[in-house]
Amino acid sequence: MQQSEELSGGIDAGSQPLDELMQKIADHKGCGSSGGGGKSSCGSSAGQGDLAPEIWEKVKNHPCYSEEAHHHYARMHVAVAPACNIQCNYCNRKYDCANESRPGVVSEKLTPEQAAKKVLAVASTIPQMTVLGIAGPGDPLANPEKTFKTFQLISETAPDIKLCLSTNGLALPDHVDTIKAFNVDHVTITINMVDPDIGAEIYPWVFFNHKRYTGRDAAKILTERQLQGLEMLTERGILCKVNSVMIPGVNDAHLVEVNKAVKSRGAFLHNIMPLISAPEHGTVFGLNGQRGPTAQELKALQDSCEGEMNMMRHCRQCRADAVGLLGEDRSAEFTTEKIMTMDVKYDSETRKAYQQKVEQERQATVAAKNLELATLAGERSDIKILIAVATKGGGRINEHFGHAKEFQVYEVGTDGAKFVGHRRVDLYCQGGYGEEDSIETIIRALNDCTAVFVAKIGHCPKDSLAEAGIEPVDRYALEYIEQSAISYYKEYLDRVRDGEVTHVARGDADIRQGAFISA
């Protein structure tokens, strides 16, 4: 109870900055459209959207770049890069826990040879594994030999696997040509600021040219190197995504500037992520009480930047050694000990056959959505609702409410259904202080949603949800998500029109901060 009071207090306290943020966002939107360089409309994040065909071709099977692909394809990260060249206030390199899911965290480090074997083992077991990333736990380009050796070994044995890396950008300009030579066509740069004064609040130091720089000097070097690296990548035709951590009161409003800066330098996708910050993480932000954004603050910022360029909203902020579909982590199945005893046969034919099946399923999903959307033609309403969905992947409503560790959130209006985010609801590991009531946690995480779609749900949670004003819906079990969302929305409009229900704007919702406990 005390916990919930604290939480609601946090949300109330945040409403004032939210108003200010919304104002800045509104200013930004106007500015973007008058500039004429903005995106034409909110491209359907589920499909090609506004992406150029050649970019779509490159990203359509990449779970971290294409929202649609993440239902069908899996990725893995190999933790071959432990060293880092900067310090961030949201990172604590000492922390390592198998139950913890956030960037910078791994359970074991791998040599390039072990990593290559692990990739083959995983690819043979999980045919939808199409992407290998190196994301740390430090910075891949602060460990260039290990990173590129890993890429070399994998490209020799499994040339169909896409390679990507995620960097803080400090060393990026030095390695752009090597990245190109290894055919790495996806790079993510984490850019949290383009203003060194703001950067000084996020980065205590950087290590550059054999010297440790602190404060504004450090941030100035970092931002210059990041933007230079981004320009060099886009010049060479390497696809670049930008990640930004939204830190309320530090860089939240500023991320609008970051969005403009990276768009003008050719980044094709911007992923604004909520700060993960809890005292038990031992990070500077965790210890000084810096809060993360609420779900609505995050969505408002993402919505505003979407007017400018494609936004990514399905990021799970996964570990540097995560394995599987986004939202699941099967890394425990593939420990070094286990893979070294595995007999690995890399069968590219099976993989190809599986991926063809996925392609058919994917086209069926899009066709079903378009068919349903056609029935909305002519309908005009300002009402937009959020729907939470329990899914195991494949674009269908196929998870039991009680088994869901996260819900995917879709926004539905007369324009159609659009994926806008996900909410973690796994039980909260509170460093041994016990677990809070899970249904209360789930309701707080889904508080801004009108309905929750599930394959199945028990009586107790059904009643609790209904009491909280969230309608539990199991009649679309195993159906396609977007098609069902549009169908529900049509009925909802009818019910509002008939006076059966009154449409009310829902409140804000929580973004989970704790450790992710995977099965």
């Binding site: 432990p82 060293a83 880092c84 060249n85 310090q87 390199r93 290590f207 010297k211």
Partner: protein
């Protein structure tokens, strides 16, 4: 001669190993150690000891008071 790594604080991230101009740092059974015979405190190479400058944990690459300072300092 004089830098050492406080093993209990070391995250084994290996960042120091690559930066050391004297290749004095190596991993032994998962722990990084500085060979005191090779360490020159980076004198003649850089303005500051590289291991301490790149280390993500404060006060982990430190002067070993049990050993005499590098000859250039005495």
């Amino acid at each position: 001669m004089p830098y050492k790594i406080v093993a209990s604080q070391c995250t084994s991230c290996s960042a120091c190993e690559a930066e050391c101009p004297n290749t004095a740092i190596a991993e032994k059974a998962g722990i990084f150690v500085i060979d005191p015979a090779k360490c020159t405190e980076c004198i003649g190479h850089y303005d500051s000891p590289q291991c301490a400058a790149v280390c993500p944990v404060d006060n982990t690459c430190v002067v070993d008071p049990a050993l005499p300072r590098h000859s250039a300092l005495t």
